[in-house]
Amino acid sequence: MTELHLNNVSFSYPDGTKALENLTLSIATGERVAIVGQNGAGKTTAVKLMNGLLKPTEGTVLVGDWNTKDFTTAQVSRKVGYVFQNPDDQIFHNDVESEVRFGPKNMGFEPERVDELTHWAMDLCGISEFADENPYNLPYSVRKFVTIASVLAMDSDIIILDEPTAGQDKIGLQILGNLLQVLEEKKKSVITITHDMEFVTDYFTRIVVMANRQLVADDNAQKIFYNTEVLEKSMLKPPAVAQMAKLLDFPSGILSKGQLIKVILSQRGQ
C-alpha cells in the first residue's frame, strides 16, 4: 500500500536547465496512469523524481510517508521500480535469468521467494524460453521485456514503465496489455510513459498530459482526446479511432474500435 504524491515539484539540472516545473500529482494505491506528451515534455524527468533517481529542486515527492529527499535511491527503489527507456542502460548480466533474479536476490528475499518471483516475472513478460540466452542476442523489443521482468521481480508496490511500447509488435503489445491486468489484480500502481495512443485508449482511463515541462491535463481519455485545446497545447495526435469518428462526423467521445463499429452498425440498422 503505497501512495505517491508530488507537491509543486520542480527540477533543474546543475547547469540551470529546467526540466520540470511545478508538478502536482497524486497516484493512489493500485491505480494505472498513462503519461503522454511530446519528446522533451518532462515525462522521464517526472518519473525519475518518483523513484528517487532525481531529487526535486523545489517541492516534495512523497512515496508513502517517505520524502524522497531523506532516502537514497536504493531505498526508494524498493517501493518504486523504474524500467528505463533504453534497455541497454539497465541490463548487465550475461543471461536473462540472472538479470531478472538479481533484483529480488539483492532485496534479500528468501531463496524460494526469489525463485518464485523470477519465474513469475519471466512468464508474465513472455521471456521464459530465453532464460539462458545472453540478453544482447535478443531483439531490442525482447530486451525491453527482460528489463520489465527484472523490475517486476522486485515486487515493488509502484512500477514505472518508460516507453514499453517502443518497437513492440502486435504480440508484444498483447503481452503488455495482459501484464497490466495482472498487476492491477495484484494492486500494484503502474505509471506508463508511451507515445502509442491506441495503447493508451485500450488500457488506461486516467491520462496525464505534459508539455513544455508542465502538466497540461490530468483527466480521463474521453475528455482528453476530444479536447482541442489540450491536444493543440501538447501537440498530441488523438488515436486513429477518434480521427475516423471525426471524419465520419460522429458525436464526440468514441475512442475504441468496438465503439466505432457499434455506431457504424447502428446507423445502418444492423
Binding site: 519528446n39 541497454d88 495526435k237 480521427q243 475516423m244 465520419l248 457504424i264
Partner: protein
C-alpha cells in the same frame, strides 16, 4: 526501370547458429521505390536489412547462400567501405549509432563525410542543410550523449542523409518518437523518395506505412511470405494469418465486413472509411 536491390534465393544463418534466419528469399526493388518491411519481432527484418547493406556477410560471418546484387554489382565484389557510400543505414537503436568520438551534434553529423575525405567547406554546407531538414539546428552544440531518445533518433537519421547514399535502409526510425516527431521523420523520408532515393524501411506503425510506402514485404519466421503494393497486401486475406498489426482503419473495416457490412473496397487510410462505407460524409446527429 533500373533494379537497385536484387536478392535471389538468399538464405543466411549467423555463426554458431543451427537455424537459418533468412530462408530462400528472392525479390527485386526498383530504383526510387519506397518499400516497407513488416513482420513480427524475430521474423528476420533486421537481418534482411543487414544483408542489403552488406554487413552480412562482410562483417557478420556465418553462411550466406544465394545472390545479393546491389545496383548491378554483386555484394561479394564490393568493399564494405564502398557500400557505406552506396547504402546508408540508420540503426534501430539510436543509442548505439552515435559514434562516441564527437562531442557535439554538428560534428557528429559531419563525421561520415570527414571519413569520405569531403572538402571542409562542402561538409559545412551539407551539414547545415541536413540539420535544417531534420529540424535539429537548435541541437548543433549539444553533446550527442545528452540528447533524449527522440532527439538522438533524428541525429542518427541526419548523420546518414548527409552522406547522400542512393539507397537508404532505415530500421524503425521512430520507435522513440512522439506522433508529431514520427510524422516529421516520414516527411523527411518522403523528401528522400522525391529525390530519387531507393528506400527500405522497417516499421511497426502500419498507418504510416499505408500513407507513405509504395510496396510491402512481409516477413514471417525468416521467409518472405508476401510482397506487392501496400494496398493489395493489406487487402489480401492471407495477411491476417501472420498476426501482424493492420492499419487501424483496415482492422475496423475487416471487422465490419465480418459482421456483414458491405464495403466497396478495403480502406487503408483513415479518410477512406467513409467512401468504403458508401457514405458521403453527411452528418447524422441524434
Amino acid at each position: 526501370m533500373t533494379i537497385m536491390i536484387d536478392l535471389k534465393n538468399v538464405s543466411y544463418r549467423y555463426p554458431v547458429s543451427d537455424d537459418f534466419v533468412l530462408k530462400n528469399i528472392s525479390f527485386s526493388i526498383e530504383k526510387g521505390k519506397f518499400s516497407a518491411i513488416v513482420g513480427n519481432n524475430g521474423s528476420g527484418k533486421t537481418t534482411l536489412c543487414n544483408t542489403i547493406r552488406g554487413f552480412v556477410p562482410h562483417f557478420y560471418k556465418g553462411d550466406l547462400d544465394g545472390e545479393v546484387i546491389i545496383d548491378q554489382t554483386k555484394m561479394a565484389d564490393y568493399q564494405l567501405g564502398q557500400l557505406g557510400e552506396k547504402v546508408g543505414y540508420v540503426f534501430q537503436n539510436p543509442f548505439i549509432q552515435v559514434s562516441g568520438v564527437k562531442d557535439n551534434v554538428f560534428e557528429e553529423v559531419a563525421y561520415g563525410l570527414e571519413n569520405l575525405g569531403v572538402p571542409v567547406e562542402e561538409i559545412k554546407i551539407r551539414v547545415e542543410e541536413v540539420l535544417k531538414l531534420v529540424k535539429i539546428e537548435h541541437l548543433r552544440d549539444k553533446n550527442p550523449f545528452e540528447l533524449s531518445g527522440g532527439q538522438r533518433q533524428r541525429v542518427a537519421l541526419a548523420s546518414i542523409i548527409v552522406m547522400d547514399p542512393e539507397i537508404l535502409v532505415i530500421d524503425e526510425p521512430t520507435s522513440q518518437l512522439d506522433p508529431i516527431g514520427t510524422e516529421q521523420i516520414f516527411d523527411i523520408i518522403r523528401l528522400m523518395k522525391e529525390r530519387g532515393k531507393t528506400i527500405i524501411l522497417v516499421e511497426h506503425k502500419m498507418d504510416l506505412i499505408a500513407e507513405y510506402a509504395d510496396d510491402l514485404l512481409v516477413m514471417h519466421e525468416g521467409e518472405l511470405v508476401m510482397q506487392g503494393p501496400v494496398r493489395e497486401v493489406f487487402a489480401d486475406p492471407e495477411f491476417e494469418k501472420y498476426q501482424i498489426q493492420y492499419p487501424h482503419v483496415t482492422e475496423i473495416a475487416l471487422q465490419l465486413q465480418k459482421l456483414g457490412t458491405a464495403l466497396s473496397f478495403i480502406p487503408i487510410r483513415d479518410e477512406e472509411l467513409a467512401k468504403a462505407l458508401n457514405r458521403t460524409g453527411v452528418a447524422i446527429h441524434d
